[in-house]
Amino acid sequence: MRNIWTIARREYKLYFTSPIAYIAALLTLLTVGIYFVVIIYYTVNNSYYSNNTAPGIDIVIGPLATVFLFAVPALTMRLLADEQRMGTLELLLTTPIKDGELVIGKWLGAFLFMLTIIAVTLVYPIVLNKLTTPGIDQGVMVSGYIAIILLTAVFLAIGTAMSSFFNNQFAAFFATLAVLIVFWWLIRLPTYIVQNDSINNILNYLDLNGRFNTMLAGTMSLSDIIYPISLTALGLFLSAAAVEIRRWR
């Protein structure tokens, strides 16, 4: 546990000296901010339209998820690929820490950085709460934030895995993006064509976007929590395995 924390702490600090991290954070907050202002402006100026639907927390968390789809690969691409490039992986792998601890520490550092970005967006629900009567639904807000936190965990674990598979940062970036796009958009496409219920059930189960939207609407089932956690664990397990395989090659 201590090793994980040592690695995570270094990783977290490193983001604050990394231009890519600042750009990712800036783009994320800028996008969410612009989206928020536009929606509020539109709603206020078309009050007839917003008679029964005041904007909810989804106008913050929805775009956040979309931006993370691109920001996460940029933040995770260097996690292990860069250590390999700089030769520091050799250093870490000859210290008395387990491969799993290294990988989890790396992931945790990135996760804490993303949580920091998410924490900044908490200003929007406060503003929304002031703007609307009788205020926003607290339950929906909590479920929405749980959804984005779980989604971030999954995205980062996939990114960590890709970074451990490739020595090249750009290869890691595009591989992460590709896998995320599959889980986010493509996985449910076959359900529009395939008429087989059991296959469609599986695909719907695996579809991150569907689960995310359900949670964003304020409903949550146990599998909505367990599935992303399992996927995160799988990603981290594969990363640790990739590091281990590197040793044997």
């Binding site: 201590r2 090793n3 030769g87 992986l89 050799e90 000859t94 210290t95 040793r247 044997w248 090659r249």
Partner: protein, 309 residues
């Protein structure tokens, strides 16, 4: 203590090292000598727990490198060939990070001690990205010495250092080597000669010779080689020396010195010195010349190549 038994490593179909068996005791500095690509780094990576061997095994500090890898890694200090540093950290932050990973109880003190040892105390707060190559090497060494390891493994540690730094570095290694086991690789033969108690010569993944630098010389030469210089011309001295019993291959060199050999069992030097003086010559210089490790190395690797053919 390092004890390697039959270490073999294959990278795909290429065999990097084959059946390496050797030992390095506590308080011994062992040099790993060989051309680039001989398998030095591979062997060191195996011994430090970075990667497992394909066949064979090794014990480092009393632990098995495969089944007790974490224990081995706790007790080994390793400086890889490309010094692994984080340019975004200060020297102190970097060493503190390593101290944390190694769970050193009084990390700050040990970082200070390691910095003192490599004389980098004044640059502790400087960013690694701003350091010169020599200083980076020293920070890398501090990292390897940080936890006072029982076994120190250094891969080409003096590459890129200027001559003054090399001397300093050698002194540090010699000090450390008094009580711990040091295995260092180099392709600079004079370095092995100066630093090491014992030398392992490795070529194409195999150990071709193993001995003290001095023994390696005499073993290969088979005869002692002596140079003699007198004041004035030595032309007339040559037949006098050549006649002495036991003197072999006496020749006059273009630089005016006289060279001869003798079997190590029959030391003819006193007789030669006497004869020179008695013949009325002023003796200026009289010293043995060893085969340099360069020559030994060429001889050994060529012998091997010939055997393979």
């Amino acid at each position: 203590m390092i004890r390697a038994t039959g270490l073999t490593k294959d990278y795909g179909s290429r065999r990097a090292i084959e059946n390496l068996t050797f030992e390095a005791k506590q308080g011994e500095v062992v040099g790993f000598l060989g051309p680039n690509g001989a398998g030095k780094t591979t062997t060191m990576r195996i011994l430090t727990g970075y990667m497992p061997p394909t066949y064979g095994t090794a014990q480092v500090a009393g632990f098995d490198i495969i089944s007790e890898s974490l224990e081995v890694r706790r007790r080994v200090g390793y400086l890889p060939e490309t010094v692994p540093l984080y340019p975004d950290m200060t020297v102190y932050e970097y060493l503190k990070f390593m101290a944390d990973l190694r769970h050193l109880p009084n990390g700050d003190d040990m970082v200070d001690a390691a910095l003192d040892l490599v004389q980098m105390g004044k640059r502790a707060d400087g960013y690694i990205s701003n350091l010169s190559k020599g200083m980076r090497q020293r920070v890398g060494l501090a990292q390897a010495l940080l936890h006072r390891p029982e076994v120190l493994i250094l891969d080409e540690p003096t590459i890129g250092l200027d001559p003054a730094q090399v001397v300093e570095f050698r002194n540090t290694v010699r000090d450390v080597g008094k009580e711990r086991t040091v295995l260092l690789s180099t392709h600079i033969l004079s370095e092995a000669q100066q630093l090491c108690d014992r030398v392992l010569i490795i070529n194409k993944g195999r150990i071709v010779a193993e001995d003290t630098p001095e023994n390696l010389q005499s073993r290969l030469v088979g005869a002692e080689h002596v140079v003699l210089r007198v004041k004035g011309e030595a032309d007339d001295l040559l037949p006098i020396i050549a006649r002495i019993d036991g003197v072999q291959n006496a020749t006059l060199q273009p630089d005016g010195t006289l060279e001869f050999q003798f079997a190590p069992t029959a030391d003819v030097r006193p007789a030669v010195a006497r004869a020179t003086i008695e013949a009325g010559y002023d003796l200026l210089e009289f010293h043995p010349v060893g085969l340099s490790l360069e020559e030994i190395f060429l001889q050994l690797t060529q012998d091997n190549a010939r055997k393979e053919r």
